[in-house]
Symmetry: C2
Subunit: 476 residues, 2 copies
């Protein structure tokens, strides 16, 4: 992929070095420049090249973040925020070097307001840490992107995942943010009120901005009550189309499904082998319902009726935790099962999202394209949202295969855009999807994004080279 | 209130006149300059002075809107978008004159995608028009701010209303927008996909921006299925606190209440008199549940139990449309009932929103303050969101009373902000709430809003004098 490589630029590199000297004077051994730590922080899970920052700093407070950004701003040195490094499109790469701000030590859960169903956390808190903390109070934070990501990272990439069909994405579950801007100022984007019409929505401007407009230092999140009853079910279908139609009917009927996941034939085959299951090797829907006991029973029954209407069955469902886990094993182990199809190879996860009415078409055309491209990529979909993932298993040593994979990924995005969809439903833009933004948004809207970036970060020091560039010279 | 009056400015007024001449050449009798029409379009429902635009233009397409904005931009003439004029904080006033763009003729419902639960409409479509159109397809658009507002206006003010506790606000129900920017360019903010991580959230930037960043010409909305069963109920409580605590418990218990409205004692008294009801003159909660028959029955029963726990009762509920209407009459006629408390006076609606745990305190302190201020203002609250309205009944001829009312409104906002709330939950900023933004957001965040405004509207022609000004000279 045409990811800009770091060029030699003695002036810029001298400025970065000066910033690091000043940072070291201020933060001592919390500034790390060892090769290994730097490379970890340019971590990517794709075939994007590792582009390490020049130093990594570990702040312990918003004050620290302000101090770091002010020093970097003075020297025009890039700053890249880092959560757990689980982003998928090169969001933490440092194509122009600079200073990585690793927020792992800012991992305090500051307050839980149980009556208001909200909490205030630092950005380094992870999803699992938060849910463990909340469990005793009967509360949970529903956004689950799979990885044990940090809440700051999830906000930055507008993450979502399996529960989004019922609970929304990070866009819907962040009430307010504190963030340090490129000038070192700390802003608070909103009050703790459930809703507000008081001016521009700075919360939503920062959610999904991938550290290019500010560095998140505190997040107020909506929480949900742990449901009294959870019912899980699985059902095989004769075709992807049948499974998608059953999904559409489920949602149209107003059944408040909490999760509805599709595995394609190949993913089911992989799961049978890896998790020692005996599922029919056909497209599989996995569903989960949250509510009262009577409510989840009714929802499960209605879903079963809909599934049968579309040739699905048998529909197995369960409410006991251990039985639910058994039923959903194919989904939980899905990533590892997929990787085991071609052990030792690179597994590249990509995602697109289309209106649900086009989902079956998008999935089946992509499956056909895969076969024609001699590629292997099991599919897992958050089908209630029209969002699906393909895990391409590619031999990184085989340049012809990489070329075929790149061409395939390109057609996948083109296909989604042609169906009124988006190039990424939840992974974000980073470096990997930048090239699709002109086609998706049009030049006029992209110009608006560039204007916003210029207005808030005129020196282009906040995670430069991600989402939008500001001209032929990416620092211009 | 210290609303800037239109000053004499021959240069600006000459430029506006030149713009109107050019507009008339292009749009003929769709440009109207009669005093009556101009004053209608500066309509406010508050005591803000009427500040009419210099002309009103009626576009029929996005092309027309682009043409109008380009002419105005060329002459630096202000442009103010107009839906139905039901905004409450002077959003459509023209403090610096200029050209009002009335979108009433852009009222086509372009497409309904029933499978995707979305539709595409022009901004002049009204809420009732849309719901009438959708009814036969079993769909509805849930946002209900009371007035039969236009969808464009509702998006612009980030409207919400009684259903927001279940269905969210306009922020949550707009999938995508088309809008004409200050430079005349038309942008589309997003695809029709249910979710996306593809760059900055331009949709949410425009929602709630009150025409200060762009003029909305098309809206893609999420729709919901008309519920199979609707149950409505009412229940009196010994105190506002008891009613609020029952609300908190209802929401914490995960009961997916669709509406939960509070009327205070005074509003109940007003409704008894106006609608010939015999409700106990105590705080009243009105609830509505959406779901399956079994589901709404279970929700109603559980709510009844919670209500009893907090001393509420008797809990009356109904599922037949005519019975539901009877139970909710006090809410439906609430505005007129309140006005009838002091006939012939000005009724000034204001709103604030606080975390739900502070709601009882905020309401009761405000009631005490009212008594001490010798003012009358019945209260209606969307209590599931912590949002409530006070309808101040003020004798506009009595300047002492107006002064007391203004001082009261000021304390109301201060009280909400001190409780981590917002100066407006759903009415927006317009002119009336501008002065509270520095305290609510802080200067650093307000500077960000100003930077965004400057970036997208460097000439400050889009609805100037609303939300933020750009310096001592509001046109600077």
């Amino acid at each position: 992929m045409a990811i800009p490589q770091r060029t030699l630029d003695p002036k810029r590199d001298g400025a970065i070095a000066a910033a690091i000297t000043e940072l070291t004077a201020a933060f001592g051994n919390r500034v790390v420049t060892s090769q290994a730590v730097r490379e970890q922080h340019g971590h990517t899970t794709t075939w994007l090249p590792n582009q390490p920052p020049d130093a990594v700093v570990f702040p312990q407070s918003a004050d620290d973040v302000q101090g770091i950004v002010k020093i970097c701003a003075k020297h025009s040195a890039p700053v890249i925020a880092f959560g757990t490094g689980s982003s998928l499109e090169g969001q933490v790469n440092a194509p122009q070097g600079g200073v990585c701000i690793d927020l792992r030590d800012m991992n305090r859960i500051i307050t839980v307001h149980a009556e208001d169903l909200d909490c205030v956390v630092e950005p380094g808190v992870t999803r699992e840490q938060l849910n463990e903390y909340l469990r005793d109070q009967g509360l949970f934070f529903p956004i689950d992107p799979g990885a044990n990501a940090s809440i700051g990272g999830m906000a930055s990439t507008r993450a979502s995942g399996t529960n989004a069909v019922r609970y929304g994405t990070m866009k819907d579950n962040v009430l307010s943010l504190k963030a340090v801007l490129a000038n070192g100022e700390l802003i608070s984007t909103a009050s703790r009120a459930r809703k507000s019409s008081a001016g521009y929505d700075l919360t939503r401007l920062l959610v999904g901005s991938e550290g290019t407009l500010g560095i998140i230092t505190e997040i107020t999140l909506k929480l949900s009550g742990i449901p009294e009853s959870i019912a899980a079910g699985i059902c095989s279908f004769p075709s992807v189309e049948a499974a998608c139609n059953a999904t559409i009917m489920t949602i149209q009927s107003g059944i408040p499904v909490a999760r509805i996941e599709l595995l394609d034939e190949l993913q089911v085959k992989a799961s049978n082998a890896y998790s020692k299951l005996t599922l029919p090797e056909k497209p599989l829907l996995l569903v989960e319902f949250h509510g009262t006991e009577a409510g989840t029973a009714e929802q499960s029954e209605r879903f079963g009726e809909i599934a049968r209407e579309f040739g699905g069955g048998p529909f197995e469902w369960a409410t006991k935790p251990e039985d639910r886990t058994r039923l959903w094993r194919a989904r939980h182990d899905g990533y590892w099962a997929a990787c085991a199809l071609r052990p030792g190879l690179r597994a590249l996860s990509t995602d697109v999202c289309v209106p649900i009415s086009r989902l079956a078409e998008c999935v089946t055309e992509s499956q056909r394209d895969l076969v024609e491209s001699k590629l292997i990529a099991p599919i897992v979909g958050h089908v209630g949202d029209g969002n699906f993932h393909m895990l391409l298993l590619v031999d990184a040593a085989n340049s012809a295969e990489i070329a075929r994979a790149e061409a395939f990924l390109h057609r996948l995005v083109e296909r989604a855009l042609a169906m009124e969809g988006t190039c990424t439903g939840e992974h974000g833009v980073g470096q990997g999807k930048m090239k699709y933004l002109p086609e998706e948004h049009g030049e006029a809207a992209l110009d608006v994004m560039r204007s916003l970036k210029r207005a808030l970060d005129p020196q282009n020091i906040m995670n430069p080279g991600k989402i939008v560039t500001l001209g032929a010279n990416p620092r211009a």
